[in-house]
Symmetry: C2
Subunit: 285 residues, 2 copies
């Protein structure tokens, strides 16, 4: 049980965690901080936080757990603001889609890596962002990846695990670098392709007509292009190497496909599509 | 009202049209032909066709309407088999995702373009293929694009329109070439990207682990990679030029995105994502 949780960044993910912890009885009091005052007021109205503070430092005062739930690019600045305010015993975790970049930002911002810091990433989301989109059931049955650091205490690991389990998540652990490689492939690359496709089609000129004839497949395929641009900018910047690696791999594969089409190589095309279908069908089961 | 409809190719799309026409009272009798005997037997069991023939020529005998619903690559062979069997007055239409290639195949196969031929394409589908996946409500409220040819009679146009309206579709007309350009962008390209992404990730080695951490966005994004490989091979081969055009455009845009990531150009990335999000959000409404 957490007595007082400080939620730094009151958006869709942070708000959902707060709601889930309240419902799961995992937390007695939640204090919010966000640079956007309207989000804080709305969070109080929606019963997501008990009250808010207008500085991060005030928000973490006597908190026994702190969750960083800002976009990844804001973590360093927030941590800088928290220098000197952080209780040595307070649990510290985050929800960022990139772990290496967040670990560097926390270290730079705080000037050290606290032994109670357990980086985390819930594999859950929706296209809508902001506190209004928060929902208590977002994490139920979803994987939560924790990437404890060499200096992280086992007690902090256990407590962050418990926090997420109370929110309904299924917790796993892996290394920071491995997390960033896996997520570059399964999440960051698909988002980039969806943004790029919609962007590319928008540039074709007859945009409205083109979207008019788009069917369900296109709708599903591009849903993630409605995701938060600032969050995804930050993901690209902070997981640059892993993303460029998997993106380069994909660009080469796509170009080979293009060459098979140009060559009219039906056998090769069918083989490629068949293999992809088999993988995708397996993933469904 | 159609007295006798010959359905050439008894798969998901053709089967759905047959079921919809039965329910809508648009057709008295449906005769099936398919090169796969098991599909024909199953189509009789499922009440999709009244009976079947084991040659295309026998199936179109005294039919007043013929629907070609094979994969696009099989149209030429089927039409060759129909030479000399086709009633001059019979309505002829198809359901292919590519129109230029189908028109060429019909002309080559039959040796001419009959004035009762109205190429058509229902913008509807699902990932599952085969007669088992047929459903009567597939076309309800969906756009059906007809691409009548210069020599097509206005009576044939009106009758094919009526046929689709009876199946629940919303019929529009456009030119063959324009259809193929629009569909290359909104359907063929997204399918290729989904196939390429799943294929590319499958090649990364740690396949099972990678798919294990994939979330809902990935699931939606790659759903269309479960589509029928033969159908998509045929689409690539018969709409090659339009696909290569839009694919080349996309490859250039994707590479520019990759360069923005490599350069750490956050401003540019946010602008790209914002623009894509705006387009996608507009498409939702």
């Amino acid at each position: 049980m957490i007595e007082r949780l400080a939620l730094i960044g009151v958006g869709m993910i942070g708000g959902s965690l707060a709601l889930a912890l309240r419902q799961g009885g995992g937390c007695r009091e939640i204090i919010g901080y966000d640079r956007d005052r309207a989000s804080l007021e709305r969070a109080v109205e929606l019963g997501i936080v008990d009250r808010y503070e207008t500085s991060a430092c005030a928000a973490v005062h006597s908190a026994d757990a702190i969750v960083l739930a800002t976009p990844v690019g804001a973590v360093e600045g927030v941590c800088r603001a928290l220098r000197g305010c952080l209780d040595e015993n307070a649990l510290l975790t985050d929800v960022g889609s990139v772990k290496g970049g967040v670990v560097r930002s926390v270290e730079t911002g705080l000037g050290r890596l606290p032994p109670n810091f357990v980086p985390g990433h819930p594999i859950a989301g929706k296209e809508r962002s902001g506190v209004e989109a928060a929902s208590a059931d977002l994490f139920i049955g979803r994987r939560i990846i924790l990437t404890p650091l060499p200096g992280t205490t086992s007690e902090a690991r256990a407590r962050v695990r418990q926090l997420w389990e109370r929110a309904g998540g299924v917790v796993e652990e892996m290394g920071v670098e491995h997390h960033d490689e896996v997520l570059a492939a399964t999440s960051h690359l698909p988002h980039l392709l969806a943004f790029a496709l919609v962007g590319s089609l928008s540039g074709l000129g007859e945009r409205d007509e083109i979207f008019r004839y788009a069917a369900g497949g296109f709708r599903d395929f591009t849903r993630i292009a409605s995701s938060d641009p600032v969050m995804w900018r930050d993901v690209c910047l902070s997981n640059r190497d892993a993303i460029l690696d998997v993106l380069g791999h994909f660009e080469r594969d796509l170009h080979a496909l293009s060459e098979s089409i140009a060559a009219g190589d039906g056998e090769r095309l069918q083989e490629l599509f068949q293999r992809a279908k088999q993988s995708r069908d397996r993933f469904n089961h």
